[in-house]
Symmetry: C2
Subunit: 394 residues, 2 copies
């Protein structure tokens, strides 16, 4: 196991009706004037925004509102938020929404206190040294941004997707009410579940030996997702299944199951160009990319792939030929994704095979290699996009 630091100071307030406690939470963490940041009309229609505002009022906390965050959140909304916060002397940002909304809030939080262009943080021109405190009321189990130190934002000009990470943008509190996710369409629910599973796999595929404890924790989370996801696809109002998925999503991404080991993250990187170019859901892009990535790299560590196949997918171990088991596990993953309504190839995603050169170009690795479980060249990435483009069930 490698040396590591683990720090996850976010307070998670989990369960039914917990959104009514957001005013009290903001106050506890020192907020006096809040930016309520949200996305689409659904939080308005469902009455959630009203309940949030009522809770703030009850706690005697002032607020201003900024809605309209889009999925794959844009830099333009962040500039708007920064200006509003400065004008209104906002000292706390409350995100009411999913990962996109939280990531947008994180961008605003670091931008408000920075003299230059906030995009500098995402291009790594500068690093985060201060940020406004953030709280969240989560409406979809997916990105894990409610407990993570990272933010992914898309620059509209050129649709460039870039990320930033800092402990300073970890939310002070996150309110997780699984009931709020019951109104999500099945497709979005499945996209969220896929994103959660991808966060686990990115950590699971490691070259660090002797990491039994995090292996086992990752497998425990995957087994949970395999059991609970079909239940919420079948019955969106299954609160208990939603609750298990929601906690799995948070634990999957606060890194308690990923510490002390090398991680991969190439599937995320490769997917970002898909959702960047086609504006598709990140989870749907991952459903297409991740099994393709597995097919390209599994020979690098057949026994690790056989391990996940037997422990998570219930495949019987082929002791004469472990590769058979490894491949069965990848097929089982793709079948699972299909069963919950996810796309499994470019056509189903709405992507085009002929765009592969554009996708690879935008990734911008040139003649270099990526890091991760297996270092990928430009050619490898072309192969992964090609497998993803043509994938079928079998």
């Amino acid at each position: 196991m490698r040396n590591f630091n683990f720090y996850s100071p976010t307070e998670f307030v989990f369960g039914k009706d917990t959104e009514n406690r957001c005013g009290e939470c903001v106050k506890k963490y020192g907020g006096t004037k809040v930016l309520v940041h949200y996305g689409s009309g659904s939080v308005v229609r469902s009455g959630l925004l009203d309940r949030v505002c009522a809770s703030l009022k009850e706690a005697g906390v002032e607020y201003v509102m900024l809605g309209g965050v889009q999925p794959n959140p844009r830099d333009t909304k962040i500039y708007e938020g920064i200006e509003l916060c400065r004008r209104e002397n906002v000292d706390f940002i409350l995100s009411v929404g999913g990962g996109s909304c939280i990531d947008s809030a994180k961008g605003i939080a670091i931008g408000v206190l920075y003299d230059g262009d906030f995009w500098d943080f995402y291009t790594k021109k500068t690093t985060v040294t201060k940020a406004l405190p953030i709280g969240t009321v989560l409406t979809i189990a997916a990105a894990g941004s409610e407990g993570s130190p990272s933010s992914v934002v898309t620059k509209e000009e050129g649709m460039l997707k870039r990320d930033v990470g800092s402990d300073l943008i970890r939310p002070r509190f996150s309110i997780l009410n699984p009931a709020l996710t019951e109104t999500l369409p099945p497709y979005q629910t499945a996209c969220g579940a896929t994103d959660i599973m991808a966060h686990i796999f990115e950590r699971y595929f490691t070259n660090t030996p002797e990491v039994e404890v995090t292996d086992r924790l990752c497998e425990g989370l995957l087994l949970t997702m395999v059991k609970e996801t079909p239940r919420v696809i079948e019955d969106p109002h299954n609160y208990e299944a939603r609750a298990n998925i929601m906690w799995a999503g948070t634990v999957a991404h606060n890194d308690i199951v990923g510490v002390g080991r090398s991680q991969d993250w190439n599937s995320h990187m490769i997917e970002h160009e898909l959702s960047g170019l086609y504006d598709c859901a990140h989870g749907a892009g991952l459903a297409v990319v991740m099994p393709a990535w597995m097919e390209l790299v599994y020979k690098h560590d057949v026994m690790r792939f056989a391990q996940v196949a037997t422990r998570v997918w219930g495949c019987e171990m082929n002791f004469q030929n472990p590769e058979v088991t490894a491949v069965e596990g990848i097929k089982a993953f793709r079948r699972f994704l299909h069963s919950i309504g996810m796309p499994i190839n470019f056509e189903e995603l709405g992507a085009k095979k002929e765009d592969i050169p554009v996708l690879v170009e935008k990734l911008g690795i040139g003649d270099g290699k990526t890091g991760g479980f297996v270092e990928l060249t430009r050619d490898d990435i072309v192969k992964i996009y090609t497998i993803a483009a043509e994938a079928k069930l079998d």
Copy 2:
């Protein structure tokens, strides 16, 4: 799943040579004058205390020292610590040792800032509203106190063992270097491992339905302990196995695997009287009590016991008679404890069957019932002690 709050703000600094960073950590969390609190001569002999002091000096942090904390830490040492801290204007407590040392540090931390007798917190006469900040350098994977909000202390007069809990006594940072545990005798290593497994089981046996995610995480930790513990008993210098156990021990007790579900803790309560009366190791007491508790209560939820038997102990599920599987799992647990050198009955522990009335009396539940997975009466507890007294391998 139940509603819950989860909050674990401790920074964990994990890996080789990390004790050399304790000065920097104390400074980061605002300490200027430190009480270095430690237990036995082993931290002196191993040179650890010298390295800790050198790190403090290098960071320009002043310190005073207080050694001599005993296992099952005593109130007398805490009174001594409180006086020393007040006299020397200490503003940070650094515990260098195991769970006993950390629990003693926590007692001092709340006592220094309280006008009355610190024991008031342990008898629940008053609640914690402030505490000095604490940091730890852990020397045994066991109690989980390095990431927990609780402290257990023994009042010498009457050997009463009582506990207190508050987020205010969670360590600000904990330094976890698995190599520091390599010098532990096998018996203490096994006691620590047993304590860790007990912390998981206390959470695992629940009456809350639909807790797949925490079930699976608990099972993942148990599987880790079953694999790694025999490796460190065989070879005390197996760093990798020690590292897996150490992280499992922390995760087992910061409650990330226990949230949203009712928990038990009767085995801990029943054990406390054993280590209180005989001053035996807490882990050794648990090895004797926990399987006995399981034998008394398993009929309350045969399927849950069958689940852990198949998923953790690798027993084959008996679909015609799940009770057979449930009982096999308990036997497998006791065999495992024996295999790592733990006592399995009163004689091996150094306890006496004729003391059972004294033990039950000290528990002080009178004609009432305990809470937990199964509510226990005084008679039930007599039965558990009796099973524990007479247990054999089979």
